[in-house]
Symmetry: C2
Subunit: 341 residues, 2 copies
């Protein structure tokens, strides 16, 4: 396959972090040990371990973890001979305190995640990570919801703080292949650092989007084994590897070991199959956070509407997390329009 | 979205035929009634109903149907006010006898399916269908396994027999987007009739492949609700509709009704979730029929090999159904090579 980069592709397996949402943050140390060990033996480059909402996410608001994430990070580090353990940090949820602790336990990479328009709040954490000798990447969430020039501007901010890579993070699984192409291509032309891509499969195009991202020059790629990630899951890691093998691209990870891990260790752990269900499809279609679903259903019941119409309208208005209030306003407006028609 | 055709897109829902494999051919008349009625109410253009291996497939070899497919076809026709009921016919399994019977019960379309290199055996059935006043389309299975010029040659044969459309049928779910583009584009330049595309999701690119097919001018598109089709299922119909809606393409089918059908009627019917499991992934990766899996596992056990290495080698040799004998030969060769290394 043709690629707009000559750097090697490095994969980050996110099932032990993004999959924490699916597991309602109930990962046991034994599960983390087994998965991390198998990933390490397959040659995975990075393994992300944190609460689903990143370091410090174990709260009443975001869901309490069964096992302290520091214990899980330590377990993963111990299980790995070659893979680097990564952590996610969302400023405002995680702090420099947890970052230092994770580093002391052996985490080698932090991905500092912000809403796509709020890169400025990542400066402190990126700086600190570099000072601590960690790799530090920026992670621009809900990347579909900002115009391309805004995305580029925000990525350049992260680069200026010392990030060694910036990710296009399609949190809602709402991007289509041509939109990924546009975004990765624009970043490639504007940044000197590496570009990453993190997909969700809510519209069933995560693998295809990832191929486009790689073609356009992304070299840092996220996946989750058996789609064990929020919504409909991420780019299914073992499937991506099979596709790359058909394309003649060897990233140095053992495809068969990854398939066995998916089938024998991860699949039996899943509380529910990672199909594209109504809930995850609505997220991708409307381009909204999953946290909006319940609010929209309540508002729909109150105003006699279909919750999907509310969510699609919310998506058009590019609501960000924390703007759940907007849902009632939109529902009231839609109900009014409906009466008038 | 840009399309290389100005004809409208017509969808065929295949869950009641391709999904018959998943259901081990145990569809009840009540299930078919419920699904067909909901599809009709959503505005689906065609609804395919037959044994998984087409008319006449209910045999010991292919699996006995719980309910006679003629009863299921009749039920679907009765449930539909607007949708056309379609049937699949593989010459050698189904005969003109079943085709006439299906027509008499109200089936309006037959898709005559052959291996991609064997279009000549479709002549009689395509002719007859046209004489009977049915629409008749050709269906070139395992389309990934022939060179593009061979595919074009075979499609032109079907056109010459009177087929009103020819499908690229990716039976093993092995095609990647650039390979779909190449094939649909070549057919568009060589045929005067419409072009169709039937995907399987074994490599998680069915929706993306379908988008590429539509861009290149395919106008006859297959999908299965909730991926209810063989292997990892087909292009997930309700997801495709959400994606087309984001692209501003209205095909006249109600997205929300399709989502509700998927969630409330089809999902509870599934004997197993339609995830991409090891078995379906191996099919897509190697590009082989699912019927080879068991044979490969037996040969692997006998020769101390990984069955996946056998299947990948079989895929390279482009085995067709019925060539299961080749599996033992390949296994013996691989075992010999292994010893020599």
């Amino acid at each position: 396959m043709k690629r707009n980069s000559d750097k090697p592709i490095k994969l980050t397996e996110v099932c032990l972090r993004d999959g924490s949402h699916v597991m309602k943050h109930q990962f046991t140390a034994e599960q983390v040990w087994k998965v991390a060990k198998a990933l390490d033996e397959a040659g995975m480059h990075y393994i992300e371990v944190s609460h689903g909402d990143g370091l410090g996410g174990s709260t009443l608001q975001y869901g309490r973890s069964l096992v302290d994430e520091m214990k899980l990070i330590e377990t993963a580090v111990e299980a790995c001979k070659l893979s680097t353990v990564a952590v996610l940090l969302i400023p405002g949820i995680g702090t420099v305190h947890e970052l230092k602790k994770a580093r002391d336990l052996g985490a080698g990479l932090v991905r500092v995640a912000t809403h796509v328009t709020e890169a400025d709040i990542s400066a402190q954490h990126i700086h600190l990570a570099r000072e601590l000798g960690m790799e530090a990447f920026g992670f621009l969430m809900m990347a579909h919801s900002a115009p391309v020039d805004k995305l580029v501007e925000q990525a350049r901010l992260m680069e200026s703080y010392g990030a060694q890579a910036v990710y296009v993070t399609d949190s809602a699984g709402a991007l289509l292949p041509h939109e990924v192409r546009e975004r990765i291509s624009a970043l490639r032309q504007s940044l000197d650092i590496e570009i990453g891509f993190h997909a969700h499969n809510n519209l069933s195009v995560a693998v295809a989007n990832t191929l486009v991202a790689i073609e356009e020059g992304a070299t840092r790629i996220d996946g989750s084994v058996r789609c064990l990630g929020a919504g409909a899951g991420n780019t299914q890691t073992e499937v991506l590897l099979a596709v790359l093998d058909r394309l003649g691209l060897d990233v140095g990870i053992d495809l068969y070991k990854m398939q066995d891990l998916a089938e024998e260790i991860v699949a039996p752990m899943l509380p529910r199959p990672q199909e594209i269900s109504k809930g995850s499809l609505v997220m991708g279609h409307a381009g909204v956070y999953s946290s909006f679903l319940l609010h929209a259903e309540r508002a729909a019941a109150r105003f006699g509407l279909d919750s999907r119409n509310i969510l699609v309208e919310i998506g058009k208005r590019k609501a960000v997390g924390g703007q759940e209030d907007m849902i009632l306003d939109v529902a009231a407006e839609l109900a009014k329009t409906k009466q008038e028609v």
